[in-house]
């Protein structure tokens, strides 16, 4: 008995299954790209570039994953990110302090999280509508702050922005013979730290398990003694905070505020979460999956561009096709599963 117990493996849970599929597909896709397209795909820098460009998206996707696991939705993340960028740039350009600017970013994110979370959890208003209003509000505020693009011209910030981790052995030799080290931006470190922290939170913290519980069955969660309202409230606060962090990382990447910053990011974040195996119905999902979801989305776009289809609409169409593929795949996998269980 004891022996068999040790070797017996449980079948994967829904969350694990969907995540495994995504990770598998990502590696398969990347390997094929390395074999067929070669070029940039053979350099490690390609992956770091993908991370550098998408650190803010990874961060907001994490927030969205949490909200979606708990059975909600937050479509304000892109707009809040944009608002944070604009506010911080304007603040820094007036001779602000770096430390205060970070607090400002977090504060804006937190404020949105608090208000939206309160309206959704305690006043029981539909999350889509609340965060839609949040999105309108943040976008509107951004243009009220400035319609024109604003470049950050703060000395201290410029230094912070240029902090890059260089790893020479992962670099490559350029045509002129110089060795160019691999460069990783600070934002990537922050993004990966966010993923790790949230992964641990979801897996080992009682709050994290609560997110899964209320997403799985809200009524049951209530009966099991979970404070559903407070738990849901916290998901939106985390999502808001992460949008604040994403905004700051975005600013460190681009160095400028623009009213159209992070346009459509909310939908990309939702797409990343879905590809990563999060179900909008709640209760299923994982941030590691989400990280790979983002990478999968980016890789497919890189592949499209490298294949010579430079027109941006090709990217959108492949993204759409990709989404369609993953959505159908998940639907089929899960429905086969539930059928198997019945018989």
């Amino acid at each position: 008995m004891e022996n068999t117990k040790k070797f017996r493996r449980e079948p994967l849970t829904d969350t694990q299954l969907l995540m495994t599929i995504t990770i598998g597909i990502f590696f398969a896709m990347y390997l094929i790209a390395m074999a067929v397209l070669k070029g940039g795909f053979l350099r490690p820098q390609q992956i770091f570039d993908m991370l550098n460009d998408n650190a803010p998206l990874i961060i907001t996707s994490c927030g969205l994953t949490i909200v979606m696991i708990a059975g909600g939705i937050d479509i304000s993340v892109g707009a809040v990110t944009s608002l944070v960028v604009m506010s911080c740039v304007l603040y820094l350009n007036r001779g602000g302090n770096i430390f205060v600017s970070v607090l400002l970013a977090l504060g804006i994110g937190l404020a949105f999280g608090l208000v939206q979370g309160y309206l959704i959890s305690y006043l029981e208003i539909q999350p889509f509508i609340v965060t839609l209003a949040g999105m309108f509000f943040a976008r509107g505020l951004t243009t009220i702050l400035s319609v024109n693009p604003q470049k950050a011209e703060h000395e201290g910030f410029a230094k912070l922005r240029d902090v890059k981790i260089e790893i020479s052995w992962l670099g490559y030799v350029a045509k002129n013979g110089n060795r160019i080290p691999a460069r990783i931006e600070l934002g990537v470190v922050i993004a990966l730290a966010c993923v790790l922290i949230i992964f641990l939170l979801l897996k080992f913290h009682k709050l994290g398990r609560g997110f899964y519980a209320i997403g799985g069955n809200q009524q049951s969660a209530l009966m099991l003694g979970i404070n559903v309202k407070r738990t849901r409230f916290i998901t939106y606060i985390i999502s808001g905070l992460l949008s604040g962090i994403a905004g700051y990382v975005f600013m460190m990447h681009t160095g400028a505020g623009n009213a159209t910053n992070a346009a459509g990011m909310e939908m990309n974040a939702i797409a990343s979460s879905i590809i990563g195996g999060t179900l909008l119905t709640g209760g299923v999902g994982n941030v590691v999956g989400t990280l790979f979801g983002t990478l999968t989305l980016t890789t497919i776009n890189k592949i499209v561009v490298s294949s010579g289809l430079k027109d941006p609409w090709w990217q959108k169409i492949t993204t759409g096709g990709m989404l369609c593929f993953f959505i159908l795949l998940q639907s089929i996998v899960l429905s086969r599963r539930s059928k198997k269980k019945q018989s």
Binding site: E10, K206, R209, G210, G216, S220, A221, M223, L224, G283
Partner: protein, 498 residues
């Protein structure tokens, strides 16, 4: 034994327009199993929900171990040592068994999965529950899920354990296991409140009975002082002569009557192939334990599950019944087992619920006019004595028995030749049960064929002239005439013959 564990005094709860509880007292002593009885709408569930913090009471006080407490949420209830296992599974299917047992009551903020799984496995083993702690709950059967819920409550070292209809999805073996568990807990000094519709079970395990009626307390009795017949009388508040007037049906023979429906080798995604026929004006029944295939068979007849094979003749003609609409067009009506899930359209009015099936049969392009629909609704509200504020009241706000009557009205309105009633009397009050049984007999007299399924064999003996017995998804016997008695039915179900 006489130590008072839980005292509820003068509990009142008012819903818009209804006084669900008025000044109800309830006392639970240490180490007793206390049955809470009453018809549907008597206030049992409301009382339970007040106690577990789902509803806030509008008046009264609750004390545990002599200390006055206020219960504002299910957590408050848990913290005060009150645990509940509900009829519907209230666990999270996406989490593991172990997590379902421990979530919501952890001490620290961090979760130690390993130690949790270890202790969960220990309890599961102790209670003999066939589940592994690391399994995703959704992959367990419903009965196991229910037992996991009980395991959770047991592990919480609760003082008061509320079991709300825990046995309705369990088979006999599982029920016995549960009873053993209840007695063990009782010996440990836990007070158990047991809510059920099965009277025999009450007499098997309970020490005391509290009866509610119309939101008021009828009284508290020791089990020895209240014979079953009197209990029923207290619950429905009227004489029992009526009950006995429905004598066991006299022998009727339909062998020579016209066969209305005949199926050969009928099978569906959930039912094994079987033969079945019913005559005009006959009332037959499918019986067997839960999961024996009785519901699956009638669902196959109605085309509710995917039909995979077999031939069907209606009035002697070959027909194809692959989906509900086909069956309806051939004059078959089907009242589903699970009223909430498969019967009512909760937010729609009584009127809309009544005309639904008829409307579907008339077709998409021929809507029933408003005035016609109102006339139909009024007629059936009167005929079936449906208690509703008006025909425009959402059906969801009616009591269980009245909801069931509305669904019955829905099918009667289609004037079916053959009506399948799967557990029409489950979870509804004794009075309505009787009305439904009478209605079945009346319909049969008018020439309607009826298939009547009930988990209470007595009910079936009173109404059916032929019983089909199922075991392990096969038909194992057909009883009629002299063989139609409780002993024979039980013997066939248990497999004494063959």
């Amino acid at each position: 034994m006489e130590h008072e564990l839980l005292e509820m005094r003068n509990i009142s709860k008012i819903f818009p327009g209804v006084k669900a509880l008025s000044n109800v007292d309830f006392t639970l002593r240490k180490g007793e199993i206390h049955a809470l009885m009453g018809e549907n709408g008597a206030g049992k569930s409301t009382l339970i929900k007040v106690l577990t913090g789902v509803y806030q009471m509008d008046g009264g006080e609750i004390s545990v171990d002599g200390d006055k407490i206020s219960i504002r949420s299910p957590q408050d209830a848990q913290n005060n040592g009150i645990s509940t296992v509900y009829q519907e599974i209230t666990l999270c299917p996406n989490l593991t068994v172990a997590e379902n047992m421990y979530i919501g009551r952890e001490n620290g903020v961090l979760v130690n999965h390993k130690s949790r799984e270890k202790s969960a496995d220990k309890i599961l083993q102790e209670l003999g529950i066939p589940a592994r702690s690391t399994q995703q709950l959704g992959s367990c059967s419903l009965a196991v899920q229910q037992m996991v819920a009980i395991a959770r409550a047991v592990d919480m070292k609760c003082k008061v354990l509320i079991l709300d209809e825990p046995t309705s999805s369990l088979d006999d073996k599982e029920v016995n296991m549960l009873f053993k568990l209840m007695r063990d807990l009782k010996a440990q000094g836990v007070g158990i409140i047991f809510v059920t519709h099965f009277l025999e079970q009450v007499y098997e395990v309970c020490d005391r009975i509290t009866v509610l009626r119309n939101g008021e307390l009828v009284g508290e009795y020791l089990i020895e002082d209240l014979p079953q017949v009197e209990l029923v009388a207290k619950m429905i508040g009227k004489d029992l002569d009526e009950l006995s007037s429905l004598s066991e049906g006299e022998e009727k023979n339909y062998d020579n009557a016209e066969v209305f429906y005949e199926a050969t080798n009928l099978s569906s995604s959930d039912a094994l192939s079987f033969d079945f026929k019913i005559h005009k004006g006959e009332v037959n029944g499918f019986t067997g334990l839960l999961g024996s295939g009785r519901s699956e068979s009638v669902r196959a007849i109605f085309g509710a599950d995917k039909v995979t094979g077999g031939t069907v003749k209606i009035k002697g003609e070959d027909v194809k019944v692959t989906k509900p609409l086909d069956a309806m067009k051939h004059g078959i009506g089907y009242l589903a087992e699970d009223r909430k899930r498969d019967g009512i359209i909760a937010d729609l009015s009584v009127r809309e619920n009544i005309i639904l099936a008829l409307q579907v049969m008339k077709g998409f392009f021929k809507p029933i006019s408003r005035s016609e629909a109102e006339a139909f609704a009024d007629e059936y509200i009167k005929v079936l004595n449906i208690k509703t504020a008006s025909r425009e009241t959402p059906i969801g706000s009616l009591s269980g028995g009245n909801q069931q009557k509305v669904i019955l009205a829905r099918w009667l309105l289609t004037h079916p030749d053959y009506l399948i009633l799967d557990e029409p009397t489950r979870g509804i009050d004794v009075g309505t049960k009787l009305e439904i049984q009478k209605l079945v007999l009346k319909l049969a007299e008018e020439g309607v064929s009826v298939t009547f399924i009930s988990s209470e064999v007595e009910e079936m003996l009173r109404t059916c002239s032929r019983l089909i017995v199922m075991r392990d998804r096969h038909i194992v016997g057909e009883l009629k005439g002299k063989d139609l008695n409780q002993a024979q039915v039980m013997k066939t179900i248990a497999g004494g013959e063959s």
